[in-house]
Symmetry: C2
Subunit: 143 residues, 2 copies
């Protein structure tokens, strides 16, 4: 099991309700919160991988309310990567500090949806994209 | 078409992507933003209605990334209600100031999921729940 110092996994509560469950995401009083800049959704089709992207300023808080998404996180200084699988059946929040490369893969057959609550607004000049073959997709689970 | 002064509908961008679309939700620079307290998801099964609930302090920002949800909003001073249908095919954000009664209905056959980005953290003492039959579910569309 690998781990990276700027990556934190937090178990989230799901509250059962006969008319439809309620799922926690993020509270401003939690350690994972570093300010609110923008919230957006990104969907990823089954067997597709989006990445790599590195944010140089944004702290990401990632939650997967529908489907399953595998996150690959790579540290290009330590040359070390971790992998986390998040989704309806593994309901965690992944907090990622700036400076890591992130890629993510759709692992469910239907909709795979992630919410990112970013500490700053989207700004293309603070993020860098490189092709998927640039870094290895680790096979070890980080959790 | 009805409208209520403390309720605002904002068209949101969906950005097409061959591997899975990206959906805007909320930026801190937008008028609809009144601070970040807590983000949470609520799902509502098809043909079920959750409500009524009135927040006395929280500003809600509601987004429906999956499925379809009908929102009923009732003003118990004006004795007037509005109805909005939000979802994948009608991708808007609904901003609701405190003081209105809100109920919502699952209108899709699969998952109907809403994200609320609330201006304060969940606090049961600032919200009031009453049974669904208390107020009328208006049939006029607010949009």
């Amino acid at each position: 099991m690998g781990s990276l110092s700027g990556v934190k996994l937090t178990k989230l509560k799901k509250i059962s309700h006969p008319k439809g469950d309620v799922f926690h995401a993020l509270k401003s009083s939690e350690d994972s919160f570093s300010g609110f800049g923008e919230a957006y959704f990104s969907s990823v089709n089954g067997e597709e991988i989006k990445g790599w992207k590195k944010h140089t300023q944004m702290v990401m808080n990632l939650i997967v309310p529908v489907g399953t998404v595998i996150f690959y996180i790579y540290d290009d200084v330590l040359l070390q990567g971790v992998k986390y699988q998040l989704g309806e059946d593994s309901y965690y929040r992944l907090t990622i500090k700036p400076g890591y490369w992130v890629a993510f893969e759709g692992a469910g057959k239907g909709i795979n949806l992630l919410l990112n609550i970013g500490s700053i607004e989207h700004n293309p000049s603070e993020s860098i994209n490189v092709p998927l073959q640039t870094f290895p997709l680790v096979n070890e689970y980080g959790m």
